[in-house]
């Protein structure tokens, strides 16, 4: 495989998912990276650590937001320039809007949301909302692959990359739409789909005023916070924290569920987490069946103890 990988920038910084997909691509074959929009000084050089030798940078301020059409044009033209047969992106919001266009324009086969490296002529993705896997047949021709966030641990191989300016003629007609405003709802925290650790609260917490214990534990762990659907629906927590079948799907290495019963629609959004901890006062709560570690107890007593122990662990370094 000769690869072109899209390294997404957000406010001048590479996203965590960009590191993942660049490392994944380098593992598959010789790789050239493409970055689009404004980048902070020294940021793109960091990609060399995963084995990329060349980063093509389209430094066009009009492209600081993701526009699927314009980005598609850049990726397809860059792929032709470097002679790539595979284009890789992350399976996040940007990747999901660009990759299908790229696949069609490039006349390639699309492998959306894969989880691991190809094996025996196929490549694995999660299907049925995390309840099963499908191995997709890898064809001969051009391919577009999108990698699920938090599925591949980037390996640092060392090395350095040279940055080359790339100019692609992007016209007005290449913009899908005009952006009127952008509102950052993350409060400066790591976006939930990218978080390695997530602490999540359900209706068992009784009210929004009790979220302090969730935030304290999340703070101590450097984790993002999430919630069950009723919690977002009643307005205890913002909608973008709602995980599950109707909310967002996440795949952290550690998911801590507090006062959440574990309904199947909730599990659909979190069942791909590597390790699941459940804290619930009801020993019959269905969530325990999907958990790796469980504590039957009152969240208000249990959580502060855990937070203390995390702080102690961190202070011991």
């Amino acid at each position: 495989m000769t690869n072109l990988v899209f390294a997404e920038l957000s406010n001048g910084k590479l996203r965590k998912t960009s590191h993942e997909v660049v490392a994944y691509s380098c593992k598959l074959g010789p790789t050239t990276a493409v970055a689009i929009g404004q980048a902070d000084a020294g940021e793109l050089e960091k990609l060399g650590a995963y084995g990329v030798t060349k980063v093509l940078h389209v430094n066009d301020q009009r492209l600081n937001n993701v526009f699927s059409k314009a980005y598609t044009k850049i990726l397809v033209e860059a792929a032709a320039m470097v002679g790539a047969d595979t284009i890789l992106l992350s399976h996040n919001s940007a990747g999901k809007s660009i990759a299908p266009r790229v696949a069609v324009r490039w006349n390639a086969s699309l492998y959306p949301g894969v989880n691991s490296l190809p094996e025996n002529g196929s490549i694995r993705k999660a299907v049925f909302s995390g309840k099963a896997f499908a191995d997709l047949t890898l064809g001969e021709g051009l391919k577009v692959i999108t990698l699920n966030p938090n599925s591949y641990k980037p390996e640092i191989t060392g090395g350095s990359a040279t940055i080359e300016a790339l100019t692609i003629n992007v016209a007005d007609a290449d913009f899908d739409y005009t952006v009127l405003s952008i509102e950052d709802e993350s409060g400066g925290h790591i976006p939930l789909p990218e978080a390695e650790i997530v602490v999540s609260g359900g209706r068992g917490l009784k009210g929004p005023e009790n979220w302090g214990i969730i935030e304290d534990l999340a703070g101590a762990l450097g984790a993002a916070t999430a919630c069950s659907r009723p919690v977002a629906d009643i307005g205890w927590r913002p909608h973008h924290e709602h995980v599950g079948q109707t909310g967002i799907t996440i795949k952290p290495t550690l998911y801590i569920a507090v006062g959440i019963s574990g309904a199947i629609q909730h599990l659909a959004g979190v069942n791909q987490s590597k390790v699941i901890v459940v804290i619930n006062k009801d020993p019959e709560a269905p969530f325990f069946k999907a958990a790796d570690y469980g504590i039957v107890g009152d969240a208000f007593e249990v959580l502060p103890k855990i937070t203390e122990a995390v702080k102690k662990l961190k202070s011991e370094g």
Binding site: S97, R101, S129, G130, K131, D135, V179, P191, V296, V310
Partner: protein, 246 residues
Amino acid sequence: MKLLVCISKAPDTTSKIAFTDGNTKFSEAGVQFIINPYDEWYALVRALELKETLGGTVTVINAGKADSEQIIRKALALGADDAVRIDLDPADAYQVAANIAAYAKTEQFDIILTGKETIDYNGGVVGGMLAEMLDLPYVSMSSKLDVDGTTIKIEREMEGVKETVQVKTPCVISAQKGMAEARIPNMRGILASKTKPVKVINPDVTVVKAGVKVFALPAEKTGCKMISPDDAAQLVGMLHNDAKVI
């Protein structure tokens, strides 16, 4: 407004997932099928709301075999005017998109709506493929949609960021939570649905680009390690030393 809503048939979320034929086919035994939730609750209902306030028509389209009839009737009962079924057992996203695009080219739709993803294939890509095939703007992950003449204002929710954008018709939009509230069909709708037209057409494109070789089920959890609430602090040591996740 002339609206097209792409609806996919999906197993109800509570379905047991099993496979047959050497793990190459989803086992449909005892499975209840529904309209893919994002397609129904958000894309279709918002399309119906737009029709109610602005006038026009809502057509639903499905790539599926005759067993899609039931979900198509449900969409008609909810208020869609007519339906198109592309007689195809879809093997990948490309097939679905190519055939819907071929149909869409024969009509002039102002907005083509899809769900953000299917809950069985979890691709999230058919909308983007359609946009490219039809050379239209694509606004994915839309959680709010308002129409003013030929201008559409959309809010998109992505990775902790809310983007408000403005796009011109015709365009392709993928819908997620927030765009509308789920509806239940009423008796009148159900009766009316029985006589609404469903056009069955043959697929234009049958090539498979990235089909499923085999399915697999994840390894069963080996059991949950229970910790007494009095020893809650020990959890941290286990997560650090055994699971190595903190």
